[in-house]
């Protein structure tokens, strides 16, 4: 089912290394997806989300419809507090919507059992954050390896450790961090941390990268470097990217911009 994305080099290695259980979708999964090039990979349908703060209900999303096609680079813009992060978390199954559905590869994923969603996040989604979210006790290399460790049991990881390590080093080289493998996050600059976080997001060869203000904490030059990496990934490897930002200049580098305001997607 990967071949039609045209992601042969990436997906072929993934299917070998992640030979473990795939997401099992409830219900029949007969593949009815295969015609246009603009294949929808990830989508939100009438998604509503509100937070409860004591007796107060804070409505954040009031019915969001959103689609991204395979290989597309979309940025979501909106003011601070408009619910961009919330939407990204919903897309990444970190949280469940109150109303509406999230679809991935044509199947509903927001109501999957926890273990399937864990697997989805581990194998199909890569995530990067404004505050990098590296584990402070681990070196850059170990941080990159964490998703593989989570995917495999101790024994299987031990058996494949060389392969994983090679791939992690390769990814760190790709993001320009090969000289900082053994450094702890606190010994890295913001840009370097974000590079490590990107490498970590890529180790499981995800179908889609969800980036929450990846440049939000960086100076414009470093932010530009990070954007360069993301654009290259999108262009060279055809990686699907959803990027949240409030910076118009950054957002404009994407294929398409989606504006979020008052809990809905506004007409561009």
């Amino acid at each position: 089912m990967d071949s039609f994305y045209g992601l042969a080099p990436r997906t072929s290695t993934r299917k070998q290394s992640a030979a473990g259980p795939h997401v099992t979708f409830p219900g029949d999964a007969s593949e009815s997806t295969a015609s246009t090039k603009q294949q929808v990979l990830l989508s939100a349908h009438g998604v509503e989300k509100s937070y409860r703060k004591g007796k107060h209900v804070v409505p954040v999303l009031l019915g969001v419809d959103f689609e991204i096609a395979a290989g597309e680079f979309v940025s979501i813009v909106g003011q601070s507090g408009s619910g961009k992060s919330t939407l990204l978390h919903l897309l990444g199954t970190l949280d469940a919507p109150d109303q509406g559905e999230i679809h991935f590869e044509g199947r509903r994923i927001d109501n999957l059992p926890t273990s399937s969603r864990d697997l989805l996040r581990n194998q199909y989604f890569g995530m990067i954050f404004q505050f990098y979210h590296l584990l402070p006790e681990l070196s850059a290399l170990e941080n990159v390896l964490i998703p593989s460790m989570i995917a495999d049991g101790a024994f299987r990881y031990w058996r494949n450790r060389r392969q994983y390590r090679e791939r992690a080093e390769h990814l760190l080289e790709l993001v320009g961090l090969s000289h900082r493998l053994k450094h702890k996050p606190r010994e890295l600059s913001g840009g370097e941390m974000q590079r490590a976080a990107i490498a970590r997001a890529l180790i499981a060869e995800p179908e889609v990268l969800l980036a929450d203000e990846p440049t939000g904490n960086l100076d414009s030059k470093t932010g530009e470097e990070i954007m360069e990496i993301l654009r290259t990934l999108n262009a060279d490897q055809n990686l699907t990217i959803v990027m949240v930002t409030h910076d118009a200049a950054i957002a404009s580098q994407a294929d398409r911009i989606v504006r979020l305001a008052e809990g809905r997607v506004q007409a561009a």
Partner: protein, 518 residues
């Protein structure tokens, strides 16, 4: 894999958690030390009590005893002969002992025990506690030439060697006194008033107002203390010695009498209106069991002699009386089972007997020690439980501190159980490390406890175990593997229990909430 890696990294980067398990370490170490010392003490005490007492005692309520011990022993053999390794008839009677010392008397209250010299040593370790090696080998109530208490420097001269010198000295003393009297009386008293020659039957000690009977074993016409002895008596070492410190603070035993000296003993005879009987006996050995209660009251003499003195022997019918029968069981025999069988055979509404095991007889003491151990254990486990709350608090802190990491792990697809097991294995390894170090510390302390006590003595100048109070030369210890394993399991369990709640909290954290956590 990430679980092991992370719990290891958390362990290495958070020494506060290590500090929180120091109390576990100390608790485990003290538990092991206290239990080992208590077990050693109990074992030592059991051994001594058991060695001194026989396994089961059939005892008359009456000081006059019961007739025909042979018949009783036959009955006992019929009931449970398979379990019996040996039996001996014994007479217990309270008695008074007077020890002549420098022209004066020391009076002591004693438990006079009439024993059969061949069978009594078979039912208890009695002979092990005698001071003469010959008596340890084969008990005899005859005074030995010399060789008492080899290796003890402060033991007074004893045996026939001593007795002859002493007799010579007293003879000389008597002669001088007589001469003095002669000289005094020759001047102003009439010749008829010359002091009579000394009573040839008088024992070497002044005879008392009861005109005590002496019991020369050799039936010569004249009792010569230089060559003859009275019936032998073996005294508990503390009945005739006083333990104290000399001017230098060294512990010394000071003996009022020893093997070779004669003592006067008084006890009631048997019968409806007991009258005191007095006899002169020769100390032939001393008995040191290191149980102060016994050493300070026990005195042993031949049972036949005691029977004839107390009138517990009827020459017409050849019936003998004893106050108790001591039994030793074969190894592995069921102590209480045999006792209960005997109790059934000699029901207390028909026979005036008490049938008790040595444990029954020492019940209060054993129970007290047991109680002490239990209470100490409870207290010490409470300490570890308190340590558990320390771990609980520390772990909660760490989970709160690691909230964002937990969110990251979940965002990367780590399942809740995985996150939970990070903190659980963290707790297990902390508990294991803490109690492992405690184990090593505790065992080292137990192994070197006497050296440590000695060191403390040197530093503080005070003896930890005052030998004038305790009969222990060393602190007895016994390391019980089951106890050690139990303590370890208990400590690790407490550490694990204390980490369960924080681990559950970590597992329940919502990934988004954790990621947004500042």
């Amino acid at each position: 894999m990430y679980k092991l890696l992370l719990s290891w990294r958390y362990l290495r980067s958070r020494y506060i958690a290590l500090a929180s398990i120091i109390s576990v370490t100390l608790g485990v170490a003290t538990l092991i030390v206290v239990n080992s010392v208590m077990a050693g003490f109990t074992q030592e005490m059991h051994q001594r009590l058991h060695g001194i007492l026989s396994d089961i005692v059939l005892e008359s309520h009456n000081l006059d005893g019961f007739a025909d011990p042979q018949w009783h022993m036959e009955q006992i053999r019929k009931i449970c002969g398979d379990d019996i390794a040996g039996m001996t008839p014994v007479i217990h009677v309270p008695a008074l002992m007077r020890i002549p010392f420098r022209g004066d008397f020391h009076t002591r209250q004693i438990n006079l025990i009439g024993v059969d010299k061949t069978t009594y040593t078979e039912v208890s370790d009695f002979s092990q506690y005698l001071l003469h090696p010959g008596n340890q080998e084969k008990l005899s109530f005859l005074l030995r030439e010399k060789g008492y208490a080899p290796g003890r420097n402060d033991f007074p001269p004893s045996g026939w060697v001593y007795r002859r010198v002493q007799a010579e000295y007293e003879k000389e003393l008597a002669r001088q006194q007589r001469e003095m009297a002669d000289v005094e009386s020759s001047g102003d008293l009439p010749a008829s008033n010359i002091a009579p020659p000394p009573d040839p039957y008088a024992p070497s000690i002044p005879s008392d107002s009861y005109g005590g009977e002496s019991n020369p074993i050799t039936s010569g016409d004249v009792f010569d203390p230089a060559t003859e002895q009275n019936t032998g008596i073996i005294l508990g070492i503390a009945t005739c010695s006083i333990r104290g410190r000399d001017a230098d603070g060294e512990v010394r035993d000071f003996y009022l009498c020893g093997p070779g000296d004669d003592v006067q003993v008084y006890f009631p005879n048997a019968g409806s209106s007991p009258k005191p009987v007095s006899t002169s006996l020769t100390v032939v050995d001393l008995y040191e069991s290191k149980m102060s209660e016994y050493d300070a009251t026990f005195a042993f003499m031949p049972i036949e002699k005691l029977q004839s003195l107390r009138g517990m022997f009827d020459p017409l019918t050849d019936t003998r009386y004893v106050t108790s029968i001591h039994m030793k069981l074969k190894p592995g025999a069921d102590l209480n089972g045999v006792r209960d069988k005997l109790r059934a055979a000699f029901p207390s509404d028909q026979y005036p007997y008490r049938i008790e095991t040595w444990r029954d007889l020492q019940g209060p003491l054993l129970a007290a020690v047991h109680m002490e151990t239990t209470i100490l254990n409870i207290l010490l486990f409470l300490i570890i439980a308190v340590a558990g709350f320390g771990i609980l608090a520390t772990f909660f802190m760490i989970v709160v501190e690691k909230t964002r990491d937990i969110g990251i792990l979940k965002a990367l697809g780590a399942p809740s159980q995985g996150v939970m097991s990070i903190f659980l294995s963290y707790g297990v390894s902390l508990g294991a490390v803490g109690s492992g170090v405690g184990l090593v510390l505790g065992l080292l302390f137990v192994i070197y406890i006497n050296k440590i006590a000695h060191g403390l003595e040197l530093i503080t100048g005070r003896e930890v175990f005052d030998p004038t109070v305790y009969y222990f030369q060393e602190i007895p210890t016994s390391i019980q593997p089951t106890m050690v394993v139990g303590v370890m399991i208990g400590a690790v369990l407490i550490a694990v229990l204390a980490s369960v709640l924080p681990a559950l909290r970590a597992a329940r954290l919502h990934p988004v909430a954790a990621l947004r956590y500042e």
